[in-house]
């Protein structure tokens, strides 16, 4: 009962937050709405006992991906007004497309819902159930192939990120502190013996 109430509460906030992401004018606000949406989805996952996924969603998405998002938003230096210039011009077309899509969905669900199977509700587990442990038991054994492919995928992400962003700029002047500290007087000063000038005339 409480779980059902909580589900609707979280789902409502999630929907509002998701709407906020697409409607806010300021991209930074949109990013923060997205954070809220992630939190609410994590709570929804908790309600169906998927605690590991919920925690990872918060840790990885809220903790790391959103930071990246904000970086990008800042980096791009977007002029929001410019982006929205075509908004009213394309609005009628957008409304028509959205209307068609909604009609189609209603058609499919409304007219063909006779005999629509209701998927079974997942049963809740006992208080000692550890979703993380269950996940671990299959992730590294049954799904080991996918797991190793995921490692390769991460390796690819490293290579791609470095390929696309690393750049040695020519002519960049840098200070090598280690070299500066390790320097000896012999490296910098050369004592040159200069003969006194002898042919001076009186």
């Amino acid at each position: 009962m409480i779980a059902t109430l909580l589900f609707y509460a979280f789902a409502a906030v999630l929907t509002v937050a998701a709407l906020g992401v697409v409607t806010s004018k300021n991209p930074v606000h949109a990013a923060f709405f997205l954070v809220l949406a992630f939190f609410q989805s994590a709570l929804l996952w908790l309600l169906i006992d998927a605690e590991f996924l919920a925690i990872v969603l918060v840790l990885v998405y809220v903790g790391a991906v959103m930071v990246l998002f904000l970086f990008v938003v800042m980096m791009l230096d977007i002029n929001v007004e410019q982006l929205r210039q075509g908004y009213t011009r394309y609005l009628p077309l957008g409304v028509v497309v959205a209307g068609v899509v909604i009609l189609e969905i209603v058609h499919v669900i409304w007219y063909r819902s006779q005999g629509l199977p209701i998927l079974s509700v997942p049963t809740s587990h006992g208080p000692d159930y550890s979703n993380t442990k269950e996940l671990g038991a299959v992730l590294y054994t049954e799904h080991v192939f996918a797991f190793e492919i995921a490692a390769v995928l991460l390796l690819l992400a490293i290579v791609a990120a470095i390929t696309l962003t690393m750049r040695k700029r020519p002519g960049l002047k840098v200070q090598n502190i280690a070299e500066q500290v390790a320097v000896r007087s012999a490296d910098r000063i050369r004592v040159v013996k200069v003969d006194a000038v002898t042919d001076a005339k009186d």
Binding site: E51, Y129, G136, V144, L154, A157, T165
Partner: protein
Amino acid sequence: MLANYAPILIFLVVATGLGLVLLALGFALGGGQKDAEKLSPYECGFEAFEDTRMRFDVRYYLVAILFIIFDLEIAFLFPWAVSLDTIGLFGLVAMGIFLAVLIVGFIYEWRKGALEWD
């Protein structure tokens, strides 16, 4: 299992409530006249010289994305550590390969100089 998360629910309720109460109190008790000029951002008494958002160096992005990759690696390590007693040697080897692949990536980024700022 959900009962274990009751403290978090209580925390959420209290935090939301407290936040709302503080906002409402500030709104109700805070005096003064608020007009557009008073609420607009300023810079040492002047109009703002430039936009709040300025361009970042792309290297921040590289650091962030490399962080995310290793963050994900940690996310994979967590259930492994919890269930190591049931998955045994097979799981150990599986994680060994996983880490070996990522260590190759680590060596690559180190040698490439992606971990250095200059």
